[in-house]
């Protein structure tokens, strides 16, 4: 392999990006950690991170985790059967049908959330239709349910895509072999299909859980100003209260959750080694 004259030449070509990544990825993260562990006088402190244990903040964190877990679960329950149906179709036009299900992903995220504001409002579209048929109206706007609905609607494609890819990659011969050896439908599913699709499920869970846990736009738009998620609190610290230290401290708490998620995935990755 003689693409480069020496390691130094390769290093030279890679160096702009190495510098870039250092300045714009590593340094900013270090700054968040620095601000998170110092007070406004620059002294070391745990107070910013520990603020998460204060009632209002802790409540927001628990609520965020709750809503993110529910949304992730709903997305999974909706996506898995869908993935199986799509993977089972094995048609040439398959690609088009799959595209249909992930197309909304390309539509602006705020507009997708906005649609649900319009639909769910007190005098919104859904209630108007319900009233027309003399049915009881619903009032879920500005409630946690509306936020979950918004999360599911926004992040569903992120669950569908990896699950479908994992299921689609399963070699049909393996399933046939299980059948030949006497496994029934349930056994085949539990012992062949489900374990083989696990990497897809895990990557879907990450892709839904992390944005759902950290969102502030969905809760602002669908939760009114009453329901604060941890993302809203961090956003306020930076854009309204200008307390960068506290905001960074709370971000460190968020990063701990992301780290846990990463480790769990890494463990399964090294075991399965099938992802990507």
């Amino acid at each position: 392999m003689k693409l480069f004259k020496s390691k130094r030449q390769a290093g030279l070509i890679a160096s702009p990006y190495m510098a870039w990544a250092f300045i714009f990825i590593v340094v900013p993260l270090c700054m968040v950690i620095y601000y998170g562990f110092t007070d406004s006088a620059g002294r070391f402190t745990f107070d910013n991170v520990a603020t998460i244990m204060k009632p209002g903040y802790f409540k927001a964190l628990v609520r965020s985790i709750e809503l993110a877990l529910i949304s992730t679960l709903v997305c999974f329950i909706l996506s898995y059967p869908l993935g199986m149906i799509l993977a089972g179709m094995k048609l040439k036009k398959n690609a088009y049908i799959v595209t249909l299900f992930i197309l909304p992903m390309w539509m602006n995220f705020l507009l997708r959330t906005l649609t649900w504001m319009t639909l769910l409002e007190g005098k919104g579209v859904i209630n108007t239709v319900l009233e027309f048929f003399h049915l009881p109206t619903i009032s879920i706007i500005n409630t946690p349910s509306a936020i979950v609905l918004g999360m599911v609607y926004n992040f569903l494609p992120f669950m569908i895509l990896p699950i479908y890819n994992a299921l689609n990659r399963i070699d049909e011969n393996v399933i046939n072999a299980a059948r030949d050896l006497g496994a029934n439908t349930l056994q085949t599913f539990l012992r062949i299909i489900l374990p083989l699709s696990l990497p897809g499920i895990l990557s879907g869970i990450t892709m839904v859980f992390i944005p759902a846990l950290t969102t502030f736009a969905i809760s602002t738009m669908l939760g009114g100003s009453k329901i604060l998620l941890i993302g809203n609190i961090i956003e306020q610290e930076f854009t309204q209260l200008y307390d960068w230290h506290l905001g960074s401290g709370l971000s460190i708490v968020l990063m701990i959750f992301i780290l846990i998620n990463m480790i769990v995935e890494a463990i399964y990755d090294s075991e399965g080694g099938m992802r990507r």
């Binding site: 392999m1 003689k2 693409l3 480069f4 020496s6 030449q9 390769a10 290093g11 070509i13 890679a14 702009p16 990006y17 190495m18 870039w20 300045i23 990825i25 340094v27 900013p28 993260l29 700054m31 968040v32 909706l78 869908l82 149906i85 088009y96 197309l103 390309w106 539509m107 602006n108 995220f109 705020l110 507009l111 997708r112 906005l114 649609t115 504001m117 319009t118 005098k123 919104g124 579209v125 108007t128 609607y153 569903l156 944005p211 846990l213 950290t214 502030f216 736009a217 602002t220 993302g231 961090i234 956003e235 930076f238 854009t239 960068w244 905001g247 960074s248 971000s251 968020l254 990063m255």
Partner: protein, 258 residues
């Protein structure tokens, strides 16, 4: 029976996904400002939208940033991927590890971390800071899509070209580039769409007075939804749909040629 059930399931999910979007499109033609009443057909909101300078400048900002960020990130990402072959495995895994950070990290953390950096460097927030931020989160997408192509390269062809008298640049463009072009194109497309769609990172790095479409919509929504926004949604949806159809058709048409 099973077939009917799966069809019904597919249709229910599709309705869930598309009914809200179509409702918006219908409302964009509604002459009544109220969402609850149909006041007759109008194109007025579209006309208002087109004469709205804030929307026009936000659109131009969004597109300029997306195009520039795509170009820069594609160039940097591609060259880095190629250079990776010549690096030691240890350095390679360090680079890939750092590259993965923006992909795994929450957007809000990436956004505030960049905001802290820009404030520290006393860069005035606006076009340039957004562009720097977008290039940063786009490079990983480009690299993830180019890297598998680079790994599968066959360097014997490159060496053969050199042996047969081609100079390195010529050999590179004739043997290596064609193999990685599909990765570069899909990486660039990915970067472009990510850039267009981004809200959170832009929100934290934009400063006041500079808007992209996403931040403009967010501000508008906070003030109360105007029907012009529905018209904007409808236009964006149709454009996205058209772009996707073109993108999905293009590779198929090419493979048919072969």
């Amino acid at each position: 029976m099973k077939k009917v059930l799966t069809r019904i399931y597919l249709i229910i999910i599709l309705i869930f996904m598309y009914a809200p979007i179509f409702t918006l499109i219908v409302l964009s033609f509604n002459s009544s400002k109220s969402r609850a009443r149909w006041g007759g057909f109008t194109l007025g909101w579209y006309i208002n939208l087109l004469s709205d300078e804030a929307v026009a400048s936000a659109l131009i900002n969004t597109l300029t940033i997306a195009v520039l960020a795509t170009i820069f990130s594609t160039i940097i990402g591609t060259f880095t991927c190629i250079a990776m072959i010549g690096l030691s495995p240890k350095l390679r895994s360090v680079i890939m590890g750092i590259t993965n950070i923006p992909m795994i990290n929450a957007d809000i953390v990436t956004g505030i971390s960049l905001m802290l950096l820009f404030r520290f460097l006393h860069l005035s927030s606006g076009f340039s800071t957004i562009l720097l931020a977008h290039i940063t989160f786009n490079i990983p997408f480009v690299m993830l899509s180019v890297m598998p192509r680079v790994k599968n390269l066959n360097f014997y062809v490159y060496e053969a070209a050199l042996d047969l008298g081609a100079n390195p640049a010529y050999a590179f463009t004739k043997t290596i580039l064609p193999d990685i072009i599909p990765g570069i194109v899909s990486g660039a497309l990915m970067a472009f769409t990510m850039s267009l769609d981004d809200f959170i990172i832009t929100y934290f790095t934009k400063g006041s007075g500079f808007e992209t479409l996403s931040t403009l919509i967010y501000n508008e929504v906070k003030r109360g939804i105007q029907p012009e926004i529905y018209a904007l949604s409808a236009i964006i949806f149709v454009v996205v749909l058209a772009l996707l159809l073109i993108v999905y058709r293009a590779p198929q048409a090419k493979s048919k040629e072969k």
